[in-house]
């Protein structure tokens, strides 16, 4: 029986606690009385994955069984989440591979010839062939990729986009033409966190900038409290309106999966355990990993972390009508990640790890680190933020990984030119977003290389808009001072220094909460 998440109060018996900071971690001795939120342990996973997939496809929610939807001569499109999910990358075989193989088996049995597979990467970078192959598996890759029937979605290919109309709020809905004109669109999702899935899958994953700009903007993000709770997220409200419009044009068969919390394989598994329960072996592993990291050159350190493949287990799979499926999915995500927390605190502490959705096989540049800390982790709450309005956030990350010119070219200019002028999401959005979104060179790199779209760094910055609006002080521990200052934040060498710096905002003896993730958690804050 797995134990639920819980809130620890640091006392004199508490050993130093792990805090992630980029490609490394430190052991921090928190002030007495600090609350530490631990995620629940992994809930039991599905014993027979193949059978669970079959069961979901044959007995879907609010929909006819998949085999009865498959007819000879039909146009079938299978879309799937890209490499930003799950994190870290799942150990092979990926769950999407196992689902797609069963869907294709059913399609072959039904005599469907016209099948295309599209990675729903929206404005994310094109995946390499190897990355695609890891997701769909060798068999699917060999059958479709050489013929050009397995490909990354191209949001700038005007000829292959379909404008389906506008919502009642005037939002354009423009998605992949192939998907929109299919007789059946099967979407295979990995619902790692609560923000994924639902109408966000097709409505955002297969959409163009023309459509995304309606919800990926500072105004929407500031009002999404939080974007990890789709019922309170303006971003999701917009995606839901678009999804309902899409539903009128194309039949979507949504397949959503949920995973357990096993993010670190051996010998890194000590990172998932509660520190006071570390065995001698765990302590030795930790010391060995720390020593190894301290002597390893930068490239090796990068490899050590980015080669991690998570031994995730499947905790649930649901298929059928988008909204009905998503309701069940969210229940499963909450079962795995929700932790009840009483009240807000003055200071929220978070360690930003080496990996976020946008730096798989790449570097965590300062903008992505901000997005990870103030975007994803800050928003990992339900109800109220963990930190009070006007409080302080303390983040751990060195902010010194630099920029990946291949994957993040527009980030470099965003950092050098835009942030130098203003760090206010609303200001930078109004002034520069169009220029970056329509820049022909960025569009060229997005379409032909492996670069994120020109507008992507703006979205990362908007992701953090709610946190920037909510708290008065953001301090990075162990960060490069110059970089932190460019981002509009401050840097401190130690937690003690950071707390002293935050004293102007929150007083000399603030209440502190540390979010002990990864693995993922959602703080259910009761006020």
């Amino acid at each position: 029986m797995s134990r639920p998440g819980f809130v620890l109060e640091v006392d004199d018996r508490t050993p130093p606690l792990v805090v992630h900071e980029g490609q490394g971690f430190r052991l921090e001795e928190f002030p007495l009385g600090t609350r530490v939120i631990y995620p629940p342990e992994s809930v039991p996973s599905v014993p027979d994955v193949e059978e669970a997939i079959r069961e979901a496809l044959v007995n879907p929610v609010d929909s006819e069984p998949l085999p009865s939807l498959l007819k000879p001569g039909m146009r079938l499109t299978i879309a799937f989440d890209d490499l930003s999910l799950p994190l870290p990358t799942m150990r092979a075989p990926d769950i999407r591979q196992r689902i797609i193989e069963q869907v294709l088996t059913m399609a072959a049995d039904a005599g469907v010839d016209d099948v295309e597979l599209i990675a729903a990467n929206a404005l994310h970078r094109r995946m390499t062939a190897a990355e695609l192959k890891h997701i769909v598996g060798e068999r699917v890759f060999r059958s479709f990729h050489p013929q050009g029937l397995l490909y990354n979605f191209d949001a700038e290919d005007r000829d292959n986009l379909a404008h389906l109309g506008t919502t009642d709020r005037g939002e354009d809905v423009e998605i992949s033409k192939r998907a929109a004109e299919s007789d059946l669109l099967v979407y295979v999702n990995v619902n790692l966190v609560a923000m994924d899935g639902g109408h966000k899958s097709v409505g955002i994953g297969l959409a163009s900038y023309n459509s995304l700009r309606h919800h990926h903007n500072p105004q929407t993000m500031v009002r999404s409290h939080s974007f990890m709770d789709h019922t309170k997220s303006h971003l999701h409200h917009s995606a839901w309106r678009m999804g309902r419009l899409i539903k009128d044009h194309v039949k979507v068969f949504q397949i959503e999966t949920t995973l357990d919390n096993r993010v670190f394989p051996s010998p890194y598994d000590f990172l998932m355990k509660r520190e006071w329960e570390w065995s001698v072996r765990d302590q030795a592993s930790m010391l060995a990993v720390r020593r190894g990291l301290s002597v390893a050159p930068k490239r090796l350190r990068h490899k050590m972390f980015h080669d991690i493949r998570a031994p995730y287990g499947l905790t649930g799979i649901n298929a059928g009508e988008v909204e009905a499926v998503h309701e069940r999915t969210i229940e499963a995500v909450h079962r795995q990640q929700l932790v009840e927390v009483q009240g807000q605190s003055d200071v929220l502490v978070m360690g930003v790890p080496y990996l976020g959705p946008y730096n798989v096989n790449s570097t965590m540049n300062p903008i992505l680190a901000t997005c990870m800390g103030l975007g994803y982790y800050f928003n990992s709450y339900r109800g109220q933020p963990v930190v009070r309005r006007g409080g302080a956030v303390i983040l751990y990350h060195p902010l010194n990984e630099g920029f990946d010119q291949l994957r993040h070219p527009s980030y470099v200019d965003f950092y050098e030119e835009v942030l130098a002028e203003s760090t206010d999401p609303a200001v930078v959005g109004a002034k520069y977003e169009q220029q970056f979104a329509n820049d022909p060179w960025y569009i060229h790199l997005y379409r032909t290389s492996h670069a994120y779209h020109g507008v992507h760094p703006f979205y990362m910055w908007y992701w953090a808009a709610h946190a920037m609006d909510h708290v008065d002080d953001v301090i990075w521990v162990g960060a490069d001072r110059k970089v932190a200052s460019r981002l509009g934040f401050r840097a401190a060498s130690t937690l003690g220094d950071a707390l002293e710096m935050a004293a102007d905002t929150v007083g000399a003896s603030p209440s502190i909460t540390y979010l002990h993730n990864p693995p993922h958690l959602i703080a259910d804050v009761k006020v």
Partner: protein, 305 residues
């Protein structure tokens, strides 16, 4: 060199944080809730049979006492009360350190010491077999459940067999050296079995070896121990009314320890005996006061010169 130094610092931090060589601790807020279960009583009868007694005599006289006396100095008062009574009795003392038990046992006359058993926390001294066997053999301990609920049958049986008991009614070592609340266990035993209670007050063990320390501080600190007049429960008296009398007796002895017998008696008679729980001041001041070992000059002579 920096790498080696950092490595050493890491190892030190882990050794400290994970208490290498010491009992691992779980943060209080993470302690699992335990269903109150009937503790299985660890059998310690063997420790009170002849081979156990012989082994204990050798261990106490040959090992414990020389080591104890090499580390601390003791000053014993009031042993004459034992010449006026017959065992078994219940020795009740304040509790501030692991030194308390050897101090009491080694202060007793040999014939009393050989017939005295010690009530020890089942969850602490009897959690592993080797700790249980060691403490039963060396100190003649038997387990009691300090989490409340029904007392195990063992103390009564030990008393009935004619053994005197050492009981620390506070249930745990003091956090700051001052005396805490007394539980009813000792009073219950005295009332139930009609045995007298001999109050004991000692000072200096907290200063010499407080919680968290597993060896006395250097310098052969001085410990003082004082035995008081035996108390007997009135016929039909309840433990609840008898327990405060025991605590009062220990308080008076502690007062006597820092003043004189006569002044302590006077204060006791007027109800002005200082609270052994200590003054209501900042924690550091409470700890500070107790970290000073009692020295001969501290105590005023009964007659001023």
């Amino acid at each position: 060199m920096g790498v080696i130094r950092e490595g050493v610092e890491d190892v030190r931090m882990v050794a400290r944080g994970w208490r290498w060589g010491r009992r691992p601790l779980v943060p209080r807020s993470a302690e699992p809730w335990m269903e109150p279960v009937e503790q299985t009583v660890f059998g310690t009868d063997w420790a009170r049979r002849r081979p156990g007694r012989v082994a204990r005599e050798v261990a106490q006289k040959g090992g414990l006492e020389p080591v104890f006396r090499s580390q601390v100095r003791t000053h014993v008062e009031g042993l004459d009360v034992l010449s006026r009574i017959q065992g078994p009795v219940i020795f009740v003392a304040n509790h501030a350190s692991h030194l308390d038990t050897p101090l009491i046992l080694l202060s007793l006359p040999d014939e009393w010491r050989r017939r005295t058993a010690v009530a020890a926390a089942a969850d602490y001294f009897f959690d592993t077999w080797w700790r249980a066997v060691g403490s039963a053999l060396l100190f003649n301990t038997f387990p009691i459940d300090r989490r409340g609920g029904a007392m195990s049958a063992t103390p009564g049986e030990v008393l009935a067999d004619g053994w005197s008991l050492v009981v620390f009614p506070e249930g745990t070592r003091s956090q700051d050296g001052w005396t805490g609340k007394f539980r009813l266990g000792a009073a219950f035993l005295a009332c139930e079995y009609g045995v007298p209670v001999v109050p004991i007050a000692h000072r200096g063990t907290f200063a010499a070896m407080p919680r968290g320390q597993n060896w006395p501080s250097p310098g052969r600190r001085r410990l003082t121990i004082r035995f008081g007049e035996p108390l007997r429960p009135e016929p039909g008296e309840s433990p609840r009314s008898f327990a405060p009398k025991i605590r009062h007796a220990v308080s008076t002895l502690l007062d006597e320890e820092s003043s004189t017998w006569w002044e302590a008696r006077q204060r006791a008679a007027s109800g002005a005996t200082p609270d052994p729980g200590g003054p209501d001041v900042a924690t550091w001041r409470r700890v500070w006061a107790q970290t000073k070992s009692p020295e001969p000059g501290d105590r005023r002579a009964a007659w001023r010169r």
